[in-house]
């Protein structure tokens, strides 16, 4: 589910970085503005809890397989979306840095898929309306499952869109999506069960720790998210069509994808159009497409001398790299 550096083009990776960094900055400002400084250690320790709990599996009845907690939704329920995003972002950052899950360039995409979508879409739009304050246990369980599944399916769709828009992997959007969605439906159900189990446990053991009144979705945070989403959609759509590699997925299929993401489709589309008229994007477009054009042009002209020289050069490069490695090590 983690996006990897190797599959991202700089344009898509950069766009996701911008979107996630902007969300992070907004969340950081909101959390710093909170009057209670209690939130700082609480976020830290709950982040560490999610980090540990992700590695505790539980058996999924009747299947013989096991599931574990993802954490984004649980943190949103316990901390509210802004603080939850910071906490899950720190978990993803540590995983990217120390376990090579994803990578540094892909971190922006991963923060978006695993952080922004559950905290700012699944939590306020699915969990909150389904489980208002004072809901029954069954209702909390169902709401957590629905929101977890929703968040993960959105995240999986994000992975597919980012991969296809990057064009490094040849996977076409349709079959890739058909592969990713059922897997993430199952993972989402497991995550929903784990989240519900923990929320219900807490409601029974220490109800005072659960935020009593639902944190109302503030208009400004929604606006910030809309801007980030529009920016992403705008940049992605800008790069999707001029891909030089002749990807089979046509505009028609891309349009079909847009329909799949129906909930925000209308807003995305119009914001994307608005976005593509601004001056920022053409700047982004230039270097990437120029580089790609150069790369394509370099391929056809192959002759014997050039390919032999290329082979020798490749081996010599490797030799030099190894030698440099030894030299640097010796010198110390």
């Amino acid at each position: 589910m983690h996006m990897a550096d190797a599959l991202l083009s700089p344009a898509v990776g950069g766009a996701m970085w911008v979107a996630s960094a902007a969300t992070l900055a907004v969340c950081a400002r909101k959390v710093s503005a909170r009057s209670e400084d209690r939130i700082v250690p609480l976020m830290g320790v709950l982040g560490a809890f999610v980090f540990a709990a992700q590695m505790i599996n539980f058996a999924i009845p009747g299947t013989g397989s096991s599931g574990h907690l993802g954490g984004g939704l649980l943190l949103a329920i316990l901390l509210g979306p802004s603080a939850a995003f910071l906490a899950i972002a720190s978990v993803l950052t540590v995983q990217a840095l120390f376990f090579a899950d994803g990578g540094l360039l892909a971190l922006g995409a991963n923060l978006f898929n695993i952080g922004v979508l559950p905290c700012f879409v699944a939590y306020p739009l699915l969990y909150r309306p389904l489980a208002p304050a004072g809901s029954s246990r069954a209702r909390v369980g169902i709401a957590a499952s629905v929101a977890a599944v929703g968040g993960l399916l959105l995240g999986a769709t994000g992975v597919v869109l980012q991969t296809v828009a990057s064009g490094i992997s040849s996977l076409p959007a349709g079959p890739f999506l058909a592969l990713m969605l059922p897997i993430h439906l199952a993972i989402g159900l497991a995550e929903g069960l784990a989240t519900a189990a923990l929320v219900l446990f807490l409601a029974k053991a220490r109800p005072d720790l659960l935020p009593a009144a639902p944190a109302p979705l503030r208009r400004r945070s929604l606006a910030g998210f809309a801007v980030a989403a529009a920016l992403v959609a705008g940049v992605l759509s800008w790069f999707a069509s001029p891909q030089p590699d002749g990807l089979e997925w046509s505009i028609a299929r891309a349009a079909g994808m847009a329909e799949l993401k129906a909930p925000e489709g209308g807003m995305h589309g119009s914001m994307a159009r608005l976005q593509s008229t601004t001056a920022l994007l053409p700047d982004y477009d230039l270097p990437a497409s120029r580089a790609a054009a150069q790369g394509e042009a370099a391929w056809p002209e192959v002759n014997a001398g050039k390919s032999f020289a290329g082979l020798v050069g490749a081996l010599a490069t490797l030799g030099l790299v190894v030698a440099a490695g030894f030299a640097l090590r010796r010198r110390r």
Binding site: A6, L7, V40, G47, I168, S170, A314
Partner: protein
């Protein structure tokens, strides 16, 4: 539960590696962050069928590993653990992309195999560079560098908290699992058992947060964590950044392996 324990052991090892005094750890964290980002941008900017032109970029991770005296075995294990996703995503390329490409005189290969090779090489380059920098810098210096580069303070504080308490809560989780096994619990717990197992861990997390907060208030906490040591930028750092970025630009602009090959063989052109 071995998974939790081995993950913690891994984190601890990375921390131990970073605590040593090496050529890499003496550099300013900002220099390492900026240079590594430039490296990543250069590597991923290549067209998807690029393999040979990427080879000169191996120099950067190799130099980091040597300067930081990062054990290759550790790095290889990390790479192997993280590899399945990249392999999974790339393995369809040879099947889907069968357009022949002439890779050398008279030798053609399916474009998919070349782009698959490119994905694997990109993966190895980006992951090794990032891991080597982390193992040669450490979480505290890294956070100080990130903060100095403009990352919101709340977030760097969050990272440091997570780093500190991942060991504490991870250790508690591991001990709970051991206790369950000692009482005859086998395999993965059922959902009901999981609920109270992880739930109790969550309760402990809350209680610990409460205690930490009181302790921090007692020490004059005002919502911000300040770095214990000021960062110092030296001429070494400037040389590091400028030198490497110049190399990346050169490698990006000139097809170095081909140039080298021509020099050595006198052929081509």
């Amino acid at each position: 539960m071995s998974r939790l324990e081995s993950a913690l052991a891994d984190l601890r090892l990375a921390d131990t590696l970073a605590a040593r005094d090496t050529g890499l750890s003496r550099l300013d964290p900002r220099a390492k962050i900026v240079t590594t980002l430039a490296f990543l941008a250069a590597v991923v900017s290549y067209e998807r069928h690029t393999v040979v032109a990427l080879l000169p970029f191996l120099l950067y991770p190799v130099a980091l590993v040597s300067m930081g005296e990062v054990p290759w075995r550790w790095l290889a294990r990390k790479l192997a653990l993280a590899a399945p996703f990249a392999v999974l995503m790339g393995i369809a390329n040879p099947v889907l992309d069968r357009a022949p490409l002439e890779v050398a005189h008279g030798v053609t290969m399916a474009g998919g195999w070349i782009s698959f090779g490119s994905i694997l090489l990109r993966f190895a380059l980006t992951v090794t560079a990032a891991l080597a920098v982390v193992a040669g810098t450490g979480m505290h210096a890294l956070c100080a560098g990130l903060a100095a580069l403009g990352t919101p303070r709340v977030f760097t504080a969050q990272l440091l908290f997570l780093w500190r308490y991942a060991f504490v809560l991870g250790g508690e989780g591991a001990r709970m699992a051991t206790a369950r096994e000692a009482r005859g619990g086998r395999g993965s717990p059922t959902l009901a058992v999981y609920g109270s197992l992880a739930g109790h861990l969550l309760l402990r997390a809350f209680e610990r947060a409460e205690r930490i907060h009181r302790a921090m208030l007692a020490r004059g906490f005002d919502g911000e964590i300040r770095p214990s040591r000021a960062l110092r930028w030296s001429s070494r750092d400037t040389v590091f950044v400028v030198g490497w970025v110049a190399f990346f630009v050169a490698a990006r602009a000139v097809y170095l392996p081909l140039l080298l090959g021509r020099l050595l063989t006198g052929l081509g052109g």
